[in-house]
Symmetry: D2
């Protein structure tokens, strides 16, 4: 088992690897698929996220709600939790797919969704591990998405550097 | 891919399956192991959790901190996030191992730790999926642990039933 | 302005002051009243909390929800936030009143509510400042309530002592 | 007691009132002052926030940490919790002052601080009540600050409109 280095994560957005159209489509598909696992009995809003690690693996997550709403976890953080727990701390891109629960679940994977931008908590969570150029892929269908960067979504961030006491 | 049922989770603590000594030891070992993946540059407190699903799989998680402390995720919820995202919603037991970062990382797996009870957030999170008899295994070493139940840790809980509006 | 002492809070539950029936009724009334300020457009579940500081003041709070559910704050933590921000860190008791939004708002203060126990997050939050004997008053009407203790609600807690690295 | 309207908050950033230099300086002073009440025994990072309501009142808050780091509350949300609990839901501006704990507490109010931008959780929390033009005043001393807008800090936000199912 890999032993971590205890250093604060280096922003992976600054690493040279790029994500091609193939990777983007793969992430979009995975985000659409894991979305169907969402546990969202309160909001009925289903979200899935697929995170590409620098190890080449895709880590997926869905939103998980709680009767005490603030105790829930969003899809993006679920995906990061899987990755970090598996020992991966450098990331190349994340895809997010979200929208109202499908009336017909069978159609879930082929639905056309609205863009679902990450909430502020998840932007903050990503910032710990990812740099300004980290691509956030807003998925509307398996073939349609728009890519923005974390730096655009969370400018002037409260990152690890702020705490250098 | 399994499609969820949209119903609120039935407390898995009420299911008949029991967890034997072998399972407990396996969970203790896994919790000790994943603990070394903790991202805890702020607290230097490393926690690992291993969750046994009714599908027979073990889902693991570690704590993941953030410069904005409230944005972090505990080990227990990391493990549940992995499980639910994988489509598992019924659970047989969880093991938790936590303690100060080891001076000598190589010794991490053989350390003797203090008992690390789950925080209130994680008890609340578990409550959504687990019943009162759900076993929470507090690990102090791979062979030593004490098992309590969720009902003991979170009596008079604010569970899904409270929200039946 | 009082300057804090930077020490970890001493559990106020261990201080000798007791709370009489008059105080309990006053807290119950205040919890019922502030409950009507709840911002709960998603759950339609309205909660109010009234917290008695050792300075003799009552600090009140309601739940405040967010489109990203995990970003919301419960009533109990709202009350504590007001108190701590005002410089108070020792507490004698908290009353909690919660239930579905009233169809007829005018009747909000005279409603008979179900018992609304604090969620695990709030138990954890209280634990930082309050000891095992801290009274938690579960309000069902201005005159009816049941008092439990924090120690009962959160046994084997993950408190500040656990982090003594 | 004012009865709330149960409608989702209208973004207060769209209201015509403007905040003048006097108000900004007053908010900066209040943020610096309440900062000294921070309960931050884990990060030793002290933050204060002062929030101007459309009712003309200033609501203040400090950060409140917890042994379980994710259970803590930031200064900005503390200030909003006080305001909403008091029945105020429309806001004109917020000032934020944060930095390492002062070696000499007496000098706390005259310190020159680094800019402390709100974390992603707090941006998300504000978004529920405030519009894109809502001014966020980043305070470095009682007389020095820089004002940005919420829309700049949280573009493409996951706001209440996304959940219109």
């Amino acid at each position: 088992m890999e032993v971590n280095t205890d250093k604060k994560a280096e922003p992976s957005g600054d690493i040279p690897e790029t994500v091609g159209r193939d990777d983007e489509e793969r992430l979009a598909r995975e985000a659409m698929a894991v979305r169907l696992h969402a546990y969202a009995p309160y909001s009925h809003f289903f979200v899935g996220a697929a995170l590409l690690g620098s190890d080449g693996k895709i880590y997926t997550g869905c939103n998980i709600e709680n009767a005490s709403y603030p105790a829930g976890i969003c899809a993006e953080r679920s995906a990061f939790a899987s990755a970090v727990s598996a020992g991966c701390r450098r990331f190349l891109a994340i895809a997010i797919a979200g929208g109202p629960e499908d009336k017909d679940r069978a159609s879930g994977r082929t639905a056309v969704l609205p863009e679902c931008p990450p909430c502020g908590i998840c932007r903050q969570f990503m910032r710990e591990f990812c740099g300004n150029r980290f691509p956030v892929i807003l998925v509307t269908s398996e073939k349609q998405f728009r890519t923005v960067t974390l730096g655009t979504l969370l400018p002037d961030s409260f990152g690890p550097d702020v705490l250098s006491l």
